[in-house]
């Protein structure tokens, strides 16, 4: 089982990096989603895959009677998923706004819209907006 999951997460990392190398912002976004899920899978696998009971203690006892599964990796994954979700939502909005403002989702064209002198465009807008 570990081997299978290792192969799955390895190919997800490979796919994620392939997508990240693209010039298209949407592909980059999917690449990051894939990578973050691959990492969550790694936490799950590295935490140890065992067939044991959930970490619940029966009424009237202070320690579990039998061996129980380690709940910590799941807690870590849960935290990582929540954080990853927040970051991805932010990225969706950021990429969408970049598309609206810069008019392209191609990273090379975005860089080319950067004029030779980066502050020429920068300061004219800054002045209009009140000197920030």
């Amino acid at each position: 089982m570990e081997t299978a999951l290792a192969i799955v997460s390895g190919s997800m990392v490979a796919g994620g990096i392939y997508l990240l190398l693209s010039q298209n912002l949407v592909r980059i976004l999917f690449g990051l989603i894939m990578l973050s899920n691959a990492v969550n899978l790694v936490i799950f696998t590295a935490g140890g895959l065992t067939h044991t009971k959930p970490a619940l203690i029966e009424a009237g006892r202070s320690v579990p009677g039998t061996t129980v599964a380690n709940a910590l990796p799941q807690a870590l994954i849960l935290t990582a998923i929540v954080i990853g979700f927040a970051l991805l939502v932010f990225m969706f909005v950021l990429f969408y706004r970049s598309y609206e403002i810069l008019g392209t989702i191609d990273t090379r064209q975005m860089a080319e819209s950067d004029p030779e002198q980066p502050h020429a465009a920068d300061t004219t807008t800054a002045r209009q907006e009140g000197g920030l």
């Binding site: 990240l20 936490i43 810069l102 465009a121 907006e129 920030l132």
Partner: protein, 498 residues
């Protein structure tokens, strides 16, 4: 057990929540924000004096004993970084008070700013790797928001690579963390320190160490992972970019120092050997990149990279003197670099641009601004008796001590090249008469909100330079704690327990 550790984290988050509640009352929001940074600074000072008097302070959150719960630990390195965080946070907040007046989208600024401060404080105080990951994410979210606040074209161009690369770095960090947990079964750094020496899979641990190095290296802007930094740091508002330049890359350096002294100490010949080569390359590429630039904040951004190289050099050499140099350099650099970014903002207010070709005449029209630039700039370049001189001296002396002549030569040469860049800014922006195409605005009058933080930071630079002894002694204590982590481990785990 000390509850002092929680205040530098709680206060900023409280202030952030309060400033969100005051969304419709900008004046009150601003006042709360300023009160918040002063409260944060006070909390940092209190914790600082507690650590310098009584040694390492530990807080086991929720009273769960280490290594089962989350430990917050404050040793000398942590509180030194925390003190600078408090100072820079206050300076940037006051500067922003002058900067934001005419700015319409200031409402979310204060909340994000304080979340960033809280995240920074948390990262410096945590003793748990997963917790460190969480603080990194808190900082990232806040910095993403600050980076794009204002929504100008250039900001989006800078923010997209910044967000993607930083996300990639945290994913690498999380990946390393997962594998480390799988191997050792713990994420408490003090506990890891004990477990790693006796672990049988030393090769795997070294591989994980390099995952961490790559992750923190991206954050710190080390060679060859720095390209996102000069592409983005010149785009946000001046107060924000000063805080970013002073703090964010240095959190990466701090994390590198922490993990490569406390956690990955099993194969120093490999890890620190690689770090040494990277440190040299980082110094050289950063300074050469700066020489090719022609805009105020871009030059400064490239210099962040070369300076990070100096800090890594001290960590890589791994002698008490070298680490002392690194800690001294960190303190000096954070203050000086943030101040230079603030001064660049003053220059833009006068000339209306940060493009050096179109700047000029600052020395003639505003001699005070010229002096305020001169102090941090030549401290950065390492002129005696300013703070940068002592920092560089310590590091060069340390590399000569262990016969690393090549790195010492690189450090000296990079110092000279830094002088070149600083002189370039000096000549172009300050000495040269204002070019006819430039928009000289002779009627700029400075608000005290902007001048005060710049003056105070310049004064601190002077004080660290002329009275280097106290800072040197603190840095020395911090370095000794890093070299002998047993004290740290015992403080966290409480003597003989696992």
């Amino acid at each position: 057990m000390s509850s002092l550790l929680i205040y530098p984290i709680l206060l900023p988050f409280g202030t952030a929540a309060a400033s969100l509640l005051l969304w419709r009352k900008p004046a009150l929001q601003q006042a709360v924000s300023l009160a918040g940074v002063i409260g944060h600074l006070t909390a940092c000072i209190v914790l600082f004096s507690a650590v310098t008097e009584d040694g390492i302070q530990v807080l086991q959150v929720g009273n769960w004993p280490a290594p089962y719960g989350i430990s917050m630990v404050a040793d000398h390195l942590s509180v030194l970084m925390l003190m600078v965080t408090g100072i820079l946070g206050t300076a940037a907040a006051f500067y922003a008070r002058g900067e934001l007046t005419a700015h319409s989208r200031a409402k979310s600024f204060h909340a994000l700013f304080h979340v960033l401060l809280g995240g920074l404080s948390g990262a410096f105080l945590t003793g748990d790797l997963f917790n460190l990951y969480v603080w990194f994410e808190v900082m990232l979210m806040a910095s993403f928001g600050l980076m794009t606040a204002g929504q100008r074209r250039a900001q989006f161009r800078g923010a997209v690579p910044y967000v993607v690369i930083n996300l990639l770095a945290t994913l690498l960090f999380l990946l390393g963390l997962a594998l480390l947990y799988g191997l050792t079964g713990t994420l408490n750094m003090a506990h890891l320190h004990q477990k790693i020496l006796t672990h049988e899979a030393q090769g795997l641990l070294t591989a994980i160490a390099f995952l961490f190095m790559a992750a923190f290296g991206i954050k710190a802007g080390m060679f060859p992972l720095f390209f996102w930094l000069p592409a983005s740091y010149h785009t946000p508002g001046v107060a924000v970019s000063a805080l970013f330049a002073g703090m964010l890359t240095k959190v990466g350096v701090y994390a590198l120092i922490r993990t490569f002294s406390l956690v990955f100490h099993h194969d120093m010949a490999t890890t620190h050997g690689v770090l040494l080569v990277i440190a040299g390359l980082t110094m050289v590429t950063g300074v050469l990149g700066a020489a090719a630039q022609n805009a105020f904040r871009r030059i400064l951004s490239f210099h962040i990279i070369s300076q990070v190289g100096y800090m890594l050099l001290g960590l890589a050499l791994w002698t008490p003197l070298a680490l002392t140099g690194t800690v001294f350099y960190l303190v000096h650099h954070m203050i000086v670099k943030a101040n230079l970014f603030l001064v660049s903002g003053l220059g833009r207010d006068i000339n209306g641009t940060m493009d050096l070709n179109r700047m000029g005449g600052l020395y003639q029209a505003y001699p005070v601004v010229a002096v305020l630039f001169f102090i941090p700039a030549f401290s950065l370049a390492g002129f005696p008796p300013l703070s940068g001189f002592w920092a560089k001296l310590l590091l060069i002396q340390a590399s000569l001590q262990v016969d690393h002549y090549i790195v010492a030569a690189i450090a000296v040469a990079v110092g000279l090249m830094t002088v070149y860049s600083m002189v370039k800014i000096w000549i172009e922006a300050f000495w040269k008469p204002l070019p006819s195409s430039g928009a000289g605005d002779a009627a700029v009058s400075y608000s005290g909100w902007k001048m005060a933080p710049v003056c105070v930071l310049a004064l601190i630079t002077l004080v660290i330079g002329i009275g280097a002894e106290p800072v040197y002694r603190l840095a020395d204590t911090a370095a000794r704690e890093l070299m002998a982590p047993q004290v740290y481990v015992e403080a966290v785990l409480g003597g003989g327990r696992p």
